[in-house]
Symmetry: D4
Subunit: 248 residues, 8 copies
């Protein structure tokens, strides 16, 4: 609700070009769509830089499909996270792509890619989360590279990626267990780092809490931390930072 | 350890201009200084974009002072966090500035400020953490503005800051208790948001864990979360993002 | 056991109109029914304002059915929570209604509705819990309205409901993840607010604990908080408050 | 921001009686006061039914005093919680009253009391929290009675209060340790119950978490639960419910 | 290893009636049986007052069966906890009895019952744990009575059992959710009380931890608390206390 | 409230020997004393086998003194736990005894001792808790012996106490850190064992939670567990069991 | 990256026998193999004393098989942990051995065994974890003995193993529930002890956390603790210690 | 209690050279000393390889001094951990040495040092814990070297210590915050590693629990983990491993 728009609208009311009732409606009628169990927020992309995304968990297949169709109709594109094959099969929308490892469905990915995001994982088990991040950022229009299985127990594997580390605008690091990789990467680069703890591990990995807390306590200052297994969030933030220069 | 430097060094060894022993030393001699209980990492700024910083907790006053003097001698500048007045008084370094609310001491703050970082707090009790973030980012060379006490119980106070929200390159939000402010701010802007949970509150605020977990679970995707009360980390990340365009 | 009743009973004993043995029995014989594994508390409605309700979890289908039939025989009405379709099919009681999303079965809902309860959810995944609250309050005799999917990431959706917010006697807010919606609603109304944390989310949502703790720490004072996913309790409390005026 | 006010304002703009610039200002100028480290929200009482209250923890004595003076000047009344004698002595405001046990300072308590709130405690150690609730509700204009030390280990003490239980519009129960009192009270009355867990106890009382969780799991449905030691919140909610009839 | 036995053995060695090698063997040869994956401790009953019992969880069906048969051969009796129907069917031991609700299998229960143990539950869902306690104590030779579903939300149901409360030597109370029943029972009797928290409940019942902590914090001093769902342990302790007089 | 007493009272009402008003009063007038912030429960000893005890934490010195004096006047005896020297000095009651290590004050300890309670500790740091148990049980009339510092790292020390282990009616074991001692003692005796976890230790001893959980998980079935550092509760339970034979 | 190798390489560069480009490659080309989702670290054995091992959890069957084949091709041996029969059947590698209880698959176990490792368990349910440790250490080349089911509730069973305890170079103790066995074993021997908490138990065993914390708090100093159920780690450490003398 | 000693004793009894009573005494009289609140275990060194050590926390100064004097008299040496200057000053034992940073007091340190233990810290704040480990191992007779402040944010500092890493028989790593250093060190060496989490850090470092859990989840297998801040335990284990070869 920025000042200029309101001022302009008020001016239109004053000069009579916009009737009072319509102005009221405009002030309130933001472009969302009420489909009973959900209010689809079609203008979120304008407001937040990332379009509304469908988080499948806790929704019925029918609900996910209805919301996706409403979005597809409005904008021709959508992104669904934590989706199952059953959702994908029920969608019946041409052009939709399903990534089975990370459970993402996309439609209408941006063709033009900008910038340079690097996605690393500590191990093979962290790849699904990393893929969620990579697909999300790519969908939004960022150029993304991935280097998997470069954990701290074999630092030489990480060293080989040092050139790519230096070139990246933003680096996403997915790691479970002790979550040490972001600290080590953080010691080697001056780019913003986004750490995603994964639920890889057992016992005192506590479903990813240990990796999360380790990342929050990194001795490298200023690492951005996401919720456990939240590759999607990492992809969004990486894209925002990666494309920040257009604003400046 | 980027490829070009090593190649050049190896070439010098080959043409004999650098003897083997010296090359070996160079490969290993990174500019840190061993003062027995600490190894001061003078080249961290080059490597990580943020100079090594002295975290006072768990160190004796004497240790903090010695490290600060070693840094001051090398670079003429330093930043100390979680510091006490006693540390400040023991430093006896001309030009050092002490911020008593946030416990920061700075020397040699960058004069030239770039970009635009906005720091918000939910309440008055969150100001010390916000100040730690603001002083850090400013020290590193970012332009910083602050708007305090705009919590969600009185949203109109936040609405008044909407112009500044739109103009900021990066937004830092410090909040304790239920930690809801970053989500609400995130619904109003497309800039990267850095959320810093504070230990403000009692009972089930659990020393800031509740605010932390709330921020990690924000329904706005891609919020960067810091450790509890870690204003310093927020300032570092905000500065990195704020000045990213120079790289691109 | 109020004074007047005991006094009256004692007077009857004194004047011989009630024999000692019968008085003793009366003092003790409260109208519950012992069906071996359960003691059905038929007079709970009189005592607590809400009839005894059958919580299905941890009971066998047979036990639930037996208790429901005992209640139905006594009062013609009952309410079962966390029920399955199998329980519903085993009941074979005419007039029983099954709500599959929230797992509630009702029989003998009050026809006459009073007051005005508004039930909000932050997202679509919170609807089952909200429905449990709405069905319960309606069953007990309250008028209930619902507005779903008005989370804080798109505040304009909530703003559209502001008239209904102002008119409600009591507001129930169901939210998972960061649990911020009750605070924002609380900033917009002077009606009592009942917050129900839901287990929506993953990772550090900790099965709803994060939303619970956030709600308990709301910067808006006096929000009534329920156990995680406890829509039933919210419906009971809302009904009690909604109909309080009849007492005053 | 209700529809009618906006419509009226827009009409005034249309007919020219209010210039555009002034309308814009009005839309935004809500009556809060910026005193740098705090934004005092003078109209909160209108909006939320409870005036803004000063929570002392985490604020300097100077900050508390400045905010209290700003409020006193505007409305002649204020309420400070978790306050110390030092704050009280620094206020130097005539008519301010200090309750040392609960750390509350009030000024301008409402003279006229309405309704009937009953405050119970399980033990003597829970009295400070109960007093915080009682003083708050009384300050806001509710009639309050208290019955202390009626814990479940000696149920007869509670039975003696049964007449008062029956007469109360709302009942506040403060209890630590195992937090069982609200369940027992809930079995004896149909009035809304507000349970406040206290940090009384040691070992596995976990600073009040055990009492909190026990209250959230009460087998009596619909008990409203507050944060640990949050007598203030209980007082606010009790007052809202107690005075609800004026709305209906 | 009491003094007299050792003395006697040493005397036998001295007078030559027991050779050195045999004495050594006797000192070490306690009557357990090594069946490779388990060492069946046949003399545990003598040493601890309760025979070794087979805890099925984490063992294969084959292992449970083998241990049970070894015990049956030695003593003609055994007790298996947390057992499945499949284990029971695989046993093929005549006289074995299976309790499907609590998953107990017994063989050779003591015929002669002594003393008086009363087992209470707060609700119907707590019955399986209570049954585990009752079957165990009865197996060991105690007389056991049960009263189920007498939770604190309807205290009159508990009052009806007051005569039985007064007569019991020991009282076992199984309760989940807020775990308040032991405190209320403890206020009505001077017999030792054994509280068994159950995992009944959801959300902040935390799988029984809340009931456990509430019981440990009872305002009635000296309640004996068991692990969550540990009806077996409660039965053992109750039996030991119930039959203590034979020792005195 | 046993049947016979009520029947007799009702009969007296019937025959006119007791007027209605007096009967009502008798039914309600249980011998507690209202001293405003506390209701002293003088007949608790009759009801629960243990007199009401003053838990000092969270009470002011004045409150503790007033309650102690009320008890002393009524019965000539009292027990105060977690007391300070300042409380003792403020009491000014002749015959009161202060145990500084465990913070207990007693007056009117029973002279005649019965039975045989053995109190063990794993280490020297557990002695204060053990002493609280020993003084409590002795005050109530049990004969108590103590053996300190017999932890599992040097089992031979425990072996030396085996005769006393065999003779004890009840055994109290106080242990912190890993809390293993009760299991080992439980393997050597058939007497009831009461385990008291202490807060001895650091790091993952978690203030005694680790010892508590270890004791609840003992592989010896039927160990009675107390709250952390709750020597008083252990003393009460031990006394109840120790004197049980008088009931049987 | 030890000094001598680098010196030698640099010398070769100097004398021209190794071109600059090749030297650079050599410095970086450590013998790992990139199979897209994994980087197989073939030289880990040289670097860490234990070869890279395949942890199956979180990997697809296909991924595990591919990595195992790459390792088999390179070295003729591999070790897979937490494996299923399906993985084993998919491997189709001659000589691979599957241990169904512990889910280990080995190929190419060392024939020559050295030293003496003793593996103990408290109960039968701990055997799978113990077997994981034993198979691992044996695979790496250590001589391993096992003694199962010697928990502290029947110490005489442990006493029988005392000769083997004295002879062992290293002792591994696997225990769940209260985790007391390592402390008792630690009191009987001067060999290094490796404690592995297992997830055996229920309720407050907290999935093994209680045993873990108990072991970390052992009153016997210097016990090495592993993650819950981490028999593999225990086997690795035991082997390293067992074969240490070859280094000295 | 090894077989040979018992056999020999029994033989002596048989041949009459040792009377029965004396044999009994010998079997029981292990060399500990009962000083009332403690049983000093003088032969622990023989049994466990490490002498009994005085852990000061929870003991009075007087108790610590008495135990130390008893040990000094018996063996001329002792080790006190977590000690204060006040304890040191009260000892008045010649030759006792106080280390103020780590709070250790030693007397009678072994002169002859064997083997090679390397102690690393991640930061300066971890030095006190590292010193506790180093002093302990040195006291017991191991040769110890230290390298401090080589955390993962500046890996080159660690690389410089690589020669010493290769030469060490055992490596102790003390680290707080994210606890990543042991994993990185573990990737560089085949020596046994002992990780000691420290309580350095704030917020989600959770007093060292995060570092502890990270170390338990290290991707390098077989790292031995100690309790938080338990430098003493690390020193004991390192010494045992370091001197193991003497046994083999």
């Amino acid at each position: 609700m920025d000042n200029n728009k309101i001022k302009k609208l008020l001016a239109s009311v004053k000069d009579g070009s916009v009737p009072v009732e319509e102005a009221l409606r405009k002030l309130k009628h933001l472009p969302y769509e009420d489909i009973c169990f959900a209010r689809v927020d079609h203008h979120r992309h304008l407001r937040q830089g990332v379009p509304e995304v469908i988080f499948s968990s806790g929704k019925t297949v029918e609900q996910v499909v209805k919301i996706a169709r409403a979005m597809n109709k409005q904008s021709g594109s959508f992104l669904i996270t934590k989706a199952s094959l059953m959702i994908y099969n029920s969608l019946k929308i041409k052009g939709a792509v399903f990534y089975p490892d990370s459970g993402i469905i996309t439609k209408g990915e941006k063709k033009k890619k900008a910038g340079n995001i690097l996605v690393l994982t500590a191990g093979t088990s962290d790849v699904p989360v990393a893929e969620e991040a990579a697909v999300t950022a790519s969908f939004l229009g960022s150029k993304v590279e991935t280097v998997y299985d470069v954990g701290v127990a074999g630092l030489h594997r990480l060293m080989d990626a040092s050139v790519r580390l230096q070139k990246a605008h933003v680096i996403i690091v997915a790691a479970g267990m002790e979550g040490a990789l972001p600290s080590v990467v953080g010691g080697m680069t001056d780019s913003p780092i986004i750490a995603v703890p994964t639920s890889t591990g057992y016992g005192t990995s506590l479903g990813g809490l240990t990796a999360l807390f380790a990342m929050l306590n990194s001795c490298v200052p200023g690492i951005a931390v996401m919720n456990i297994d939240n590759g999607f969030g990492a992809g969004c933030l990486a894209h925002k930072i990666n494309t920040l220069s257009s604003k400046q």
